[in-house]
């Protein structure tokens, strides 16, 4: 049951996960790209798009220059899309409510991604030490091997994070979704709006141009008035 879906989503998790750091970084790792892609492959592009919109802005402002690493939003996106596609089909549940719930539970679970990511980089440290030794001894053929092995580590770390999110997420969903379904149906419209707004707030809070907030508010107000007027 749903085995094909799991394998397909795991493949995307690997591709998007590698693109996050190790690969060419063409932004396949962004939730707004990875989630709809997962959705399309699993036969429900729209729910993927919904997950992507919920997640895209949340950790977008983070610049990979600091030491603190945020949860792995790539695997959260792929995992939450998988969960929402499978469970909307399984329970005939409301897609928006399901997407919101799946994202809500996947976000804290995504912290596991930090652990696996560190593990992969740690393995690369070993590769580095080995390479330094062998080059010192005049062996110059190992560069390619050691380097490309890193892709394997990052790929593995991605799919492991994905599996943890999906497995733990399934357990939580099975147990808790029926309990909160009513609340979700009432609140999902608000949450669907709140997620990107929170993301916007984190971006505005991080971009400090001196006049960021003013610029934002002026644009917000004038757009809102225009929308009302027409």
């Amino acid at each position: 049951m749903f085995l094909f879906e799991l394998i397909a989503a795991a493949l995307i998790s690997i591709i998007a996960g590698i693109d996050r750091t190790a690969g060419p970084q063409i932004m396949l790792s962004r939730p707004l790209v990875a989630a709809p892609l997962t959705g399309l492959v699993l036969g429900n592009g729209m729910i993927g798009l919904e997950v992507g919109v919920l997640l895209e802005l949340i950790w977008l402002a983070w610049v990979p220059a600091g030491a603190s690493i945020p949860p792995d939003d790539t695997q959260i996106a792929v995992g939450a899309t998988f969960l929402s596609v499978v469970f909307t089909e399984y329970w005939k549940a409301d897609p928006t409510a399901m997407a919101v719930f799946a994202v809500l539970i996947s976000c804290p679970l995504g912290r596991i991604g930090v652990f696996f990511d560190r593990l992969a980089r740690g393995y690369n440290d070993r590769g580095n030490s080995r390479l330094l030794r062998s080059v010192k001894n005049g062996v110059l053929e190992e560069v390619e091997g050691v380097h490309l092995l890193g892709l394997l580590y990052f790929g593995l770390s991605s799919v492991l994070s994905f599996l943890v999110i999906v497995l733990a997420g399934t357990v939580i969903l099975l147990n808790f979704y029926p309990l909160v379904e009513k609340l979700l149906l009432m609140g999902s419209n608000f949450l669907k709006t709140a997620f990107p707004l929170i993301g916007a707030a984190t971006i505005i809070g991080t971009i400090r141009l001196g006049h960021t907030v003013t610029l934002f508010l002026v644009s917000f107000m004038s757009t809102l008035l225009l929308l009302w007027y027409f």
């Binding site: 970084q25 790209v33 919109v53 949340i58 976000c107 707004l197 984190t202």
Partner: protein
Amino acid sequence: MNDTGRLPASILFRTMCRCLLLQASWNFGRLQNIGFLFAMAPALRWLYQDDDLEMAFARHLEKFNTHPYMAGPILGVSLELEEKRRAGEEDLVDVENFKTMTMAPYGAMGDAFFWGGMRPLAAVIALFFALYGSLLAPLVFVLVFNVPHFWCRLVWFWKGYRQGLGMVRTIQGWGFPDLAIRIKETTVILLGGMCAYLVFLLTGEEGMPMVYGLLAAPLICAGVFMVRKGCSSLALLISVALMVFLSVGL
């Protein structure tokens, strides 16, 4: 080696392709060092033999860390500098120094322009498509973002190789840091529009009076304040979700 001492196009091409995988073996100790050597390896093998080759490998295994896209031009210039070294010519700085000099400032430039500027811009543009319900959103994201990305990584790689140290001036001429500020301003304006559109959709769907939409402004400002006080996205997310559940539950 051939008579001219210039690297053949095939090797340049291989280096360019390999530079796309710069961070595959990112490690805590020396960061992108193996990735840089991985990209340089075909050229080094072509230029040097025996002991010289060993030394070349060792010098490119030193610590290296920059923005992955800006590594393109740095690699290009490094190839040119290695060619010169092989020919016994001297330039203003040697390849090791060039790398250590450029990696941090160019890293900052890439962080500001790509991570701080282009990525949010592409995301917000794509979000407009997504909110409209269009599955083209991911495609828009990838296209908008990757034009400057590949320009920087691939075109500047070739330019770097052609111009050598002159590339520094070319990069300076683009004024990335100032461009980044313009892009960020554009993103903020678009974000304002996007938030307004979201709120507009919500009031419509919930049948609320549209004036309620104005309430979103102080709420977002409160969020901004929390973020600046060091509140994490995750904490904000969970508290907002709880508040929504509480208020619809009661």
